[in-house]
Amino acid sequence: MIKAILIFNNHGKPRLIRFYQYFAEDMQQQIIRETFHLVSKRDDNVCNFLEGGSLIGGSDYKLIYRHYATLYFVFCVDSSESELGILDLIQLICFVFGQVFVETLDKCFENVCELDLIFHMDKVHYILQEVVMGGMVLETNMNEIVAQVELQNRMEKSEGGLSGAPARAVSAVKNMNLPEIPRNINIGDINIKVPSLSPF
């Protein structure tokens, strides 16, 4: 079971926080801080697994993380999850983010921008919900995930919802042509490009 998914930046600022096990608010913040502390002092050439900190649990818990440019993706899991499998899952999720937030189809599918996560916190949660539910993996077919998210965004849009996704989501759905999406998408290390904006 996945106990928590934490995405924060290189300074420890949270970008997406989702706990699948109950923790009180202040405990949650403490866990985020402690996790950041553990993960940020890791070198880039060491393995992506850590025994969990003292807060989130005892020996049954592990931290599995990936560091992409300015973002840390940390999954806190128990022993029922496969470490290598979770690494694959993190890559999958990043990929999905990239696909959903793409502005035009010209942009490379593999780029996930931290700004996207920052400004679309709610959307990010909705996407995650189609991949992980209740701490368990729900769906791993990328196209399926993206399609479901887009259809729901469309429903919001059609209601004239105030927090509806901007027009680009609609056009993305219009432009999406499933058979044309490249098959051999390399989900080796994803390249994250951060736009040259003032530092956050």
């Binding site: 109950y22 496969s82 916190m121 539910m133």
Partner: protein, 731 residues
């Protein structure tokens, strides 16, 4: 009132804050605005406000005042509202708040909604934070959805069912009928995945379910086969591998079903071998599957050929460039090294190479595994590698590594000389990290290696000349010099290549005295060196110099040293040492019986059996007689338990009888309550009282007693010295 700002506006604003205080101020301002908006019961902007609240909650600010608003959103007809409302409920609420129960009805309605996405939202929410009561109420709805043909809902229902079962295990039975078709052929990847998760949960929770589902093994094997053999299936492919996540899930379920069951294990042997040999390993996904396969093979009752195959796969993983793969391989090998020792041995050199890895976790596992693989045949080679590792590894490792080396050396040392050399090497390279309890163990080892004494003391002396900073090394060396100083000075050695050590008595004493004064020496080390100097007075001729040193320390600031020095003096041991072969008392942390060269052993340490210490009369005056009887307290031999028996031979009772005792400073005394205050006349009874004396220095027991009582109306008081304690009571 102006429309509440949008979420993105808020985010933009907050990002302009330059300090934490500024951010807090902005947040507070916005919270106030949100609160008044909530008060106005504004339906239009509620979803926007809750979205902002969730953002602020993520940053660590309180958001509980939005909980009820989430419920209102959930009850709304709009999908937009429900979407953010349910998310808010999942992030802000949990079953500890009573308010969550209010959701139950909404969820129930939404589970039957006409729009599948609304049904999906409610399933998701129930499956994330539904309480036991909610689960009980709604399990029926979930079960219905588990049988629907809509695959989007079915997969969510499956995971929701897992949550329900976790919350209310008794409800597991109710989902059994729905599981019948979970693995059927017409189901595609999406449903299969969550179905396997549901089945796994049920099997893990209930042995009955486990036996029931064993019959699914052939189906699972078939599905797995199809996945491996199938052609290109675009939607599920990752790097050319069909639905790797599903493969991993199935392998895990097979592991659970095959464990401990011969038939099931046999049924899956072939497919496991197939996956093991055919899976592409160039990408991480392939390795994830292989790894899961290996774990399954090791856990079920697989044939030995398959097990060897699995371990060889792990061995290959060790050579993989990807550090994650190396890490999981080492972890798995560590788990199997006991049961499949020989197979793991074959990969020993690869494992030893991992000691040089850059990654700390990998190094640690490689170290643990290396120790597990050491045996009589490979001890020399392994020890070379481990000693090299000890030299270069992080300080965090050194203590564990040193202990491991000592243990391995003890078990498999090919010769005594090799053993001593290894110990020396550890002491000189990682001497400060060696655990405290190693020192007495090493002393024991040296003592037992009788033929190596000269060699050992010469090597240790040489090491001391180079470096006196590593305390365990210094302590062991001091002890050895004290014991075998004569061998050191004589220069003889049993080994063919004697060490060139020209040590004169005075030089040796210089070194030991140097330890006493050095800032680097801890109090324990000083004690060892002082004791060594003492012992050398039997072996060296420069007794006067030794006496001088000892008397200096009689007034040392260090209480430990002072006591030792004084004790030696007080016992007039120095005088005795001239002629007798008495070994001075050594600190009790050394558990050995030291052999003095040419002397008789006098075991002053350890337990002496002390049944039968004769009683003594401590006081006998004016008709009051006080006798002492003794026992040694177990488990501590330093405590003497004395029982006083006061009797009165006069014709009148002695009333208000009080016995008091005092002992010299190095002792501690505890006086328990007396049996009574009246010593009856004419020896018709006695007053007894227990005294406990702590005598850590084992000094001669002396006591001063004070007696007060009333006899024939007049008060009596007397003081006396008790000096005639039998030696066994304090030695």
């Amino acid at each position: 009132m102006p429309a509440p700002i949008r979420l993105r506006e808020l985010i933009r604003t907050i990002r302009t804050a330059r300090t934490q205080a500024e951010e807090r101020e902005m947040i507070q301002k916005e919270c106030a605005a949100i609160r008044s908006s909530f008060r106005e019961e504004d339906n239009t902007y509620r979803c926007r406000n809750v979205a902002k609240l969730l953002y602020m909650h993520m940053l660590g600010y309180p958001a509980h005042f939005g909980q009820l608003e989430c419920l209102k959103l959930i009850a709304s007809q709009k999908f937009t509202d429900k979407r953010i409302g349910y998310l808010g409920a999942m992030l802000l609420l949990d079953e500890r708040q009573d308010v969550h129960l209010l959701m139950t009805n909404c969820i129930k309605n939404d589970l039957n909604h006409s729009t599948q996405y609304v049904q999906g939202l409610s399933l998701c929410t129930l499956g994330c934070m539904g309480s036991s009561e909610m689960c009980r109420d709604l399990a029926g709805e979930v079960e219905k959805l588990l049988k629907t043909s809509n695959s989007y809902l079915r997969k969510k229902a499956a995971l929701c069912a897992v949550h329900v079962i976790r919350k209310v295990p008794e409800l597991m039975e109710m989902f059994l009928p729905a599981t019948k078709n979970l693995l059927s052929e017409k189901n595609h990847g999406e449903i299969l995945h969550t179905s396997v998760v549901l089945l796994t949960e049920m099997c893990e929770r209930s042995p009955d379910m486990l036996s029931h589902f064993r019959k699914l093994v052939p189906q699972l094997v078939r599905i797995l086969k199809n996945l491996i053999m199938s052609g290109y299936s675009p939607e599920h492919d990752v790097s050319g591998i069909s639905d790797p996540f599903l493969q991993v899930r199935i392998l895990r379920l097979l592991r659970i079903l095959g464990k401990g069951d011969d038939d099931s294990s046999e049924a899956m042997n072939d497919i496991l071998a197939q996956v093991a040999t055919n899976t592409e390993t160039s990408k991480n996904v392939g390795n994830a599957i292989l790894y899961e396969t290996v774990l399954t093979i090791m856990d079920i009752k697989s044939e030995s050929g398959l097990r060897v195959l699995a371990i060889n796969i792990l061995g290959r993983f060790l050579l993989n460039n990807d550090k994650n793969i190396r890490y999981v391989a080492l972890t798995s090998l560590l788990k199997t090294v006991q049961t499949d020792h020989n197979a793991v041995q074959r990969h020993r050199s690869t494992i030893v190479d991992c000691l040089k890895d850059l990654d700390v976790s990998i190094k640690r596992r490689a170290m643990e595994l290396s120790f597990a693989l050491v045996n009589g045949n490979n001890i020399r080679g392994m020890m070379k590698e481990l000693l090299y590792f000890l030299d270069s590894c992080d300080p965090d490792f050194k203590a564990d590594c040193a202990s491991g080396i000592f243990l391995a050396a003890e078990k498999y040392a090919p010769s005594k000389r090799w053993h001593i050399d290894t110990v020396m090497r550890v002491l000189t390279t990682a001497g400060s990290y060696v655990r405290d309890d190693s020192v007495p163990n090493l002393i024991q080892l040296i003592t037992n290696s009788v033929e190596m004494h000269a060699y050992t003391v010469q090597r240790l002396y040489k090491a001391l000349l180079d470096d006196i900073s590593q305390q365990p090394l210094v302590q062991v060396a001091s002890w050895c010099i004290g014991e075998y100083g004569d061998l050191l000075v004589s220069g003889q050695c049993e080994e063919e290549e004697p060490i060139q050590v020209d040590a004169l008595e005075d030089e040796v004493l210089d070194v030991l005295e140097g330890l006493l004064v050095s800032n680097l020496s801890t109090p324990v080390t000083r004690a060892y060196s002082l004791t060594a100097i003492m012992k050398l007075s039997t072996r060296f001729s420069s007794v006067n110099r030794i006496k001088k040193v000892v008397s200096i320390y009689g007034s040392s600031i260090d209480v430990e040293l002072q006591q030792r020095a004084v004790e030696y003096n007080a016992n007039d041991l120095l005088d005795l040492l001239g002629g007798n072969d008495v070994v001075p008392v050594i600190q009790t942390t050394v558990p050995t019986k030291p052999a003095s060269a040419g002397g008789e052993l006098l075991d002053l340490l350890g337990d002496l059996s002390l049944t039968g210490i004769p009683p003594m009369t401590a006081y006998n005056k004016n008709g009051l007689k006080i006798e002492f009887t003794f026992e040694r307290s177990n488990p501590s031999p330093n405590i003497a338990v004395i029982t006083i028996h006061a009797t009165n031979s006069t014709e009148a009772d002695m009333t208000e009888f009080v016995f008091q005792a005092a002992v010299p400073k190095t002792f501690q005394l505890q006086l328990l309550s007396p049996s009574s205050n009246v010593v009856p006349a004419l020896n018709q009874g006695s007053v007894t009282q227990v005294i406990r004396v702590l005598n850590p220095q084992k000094q001669q027991l002396r006591m001063r007693i004070k007696l007060t009582y009333t006899h024939k109306g007049s008060p009596v008081q007397d003081l006396a010295e008790v000096n005639n304690f039998p030696p066994q009571s304090w030695q």
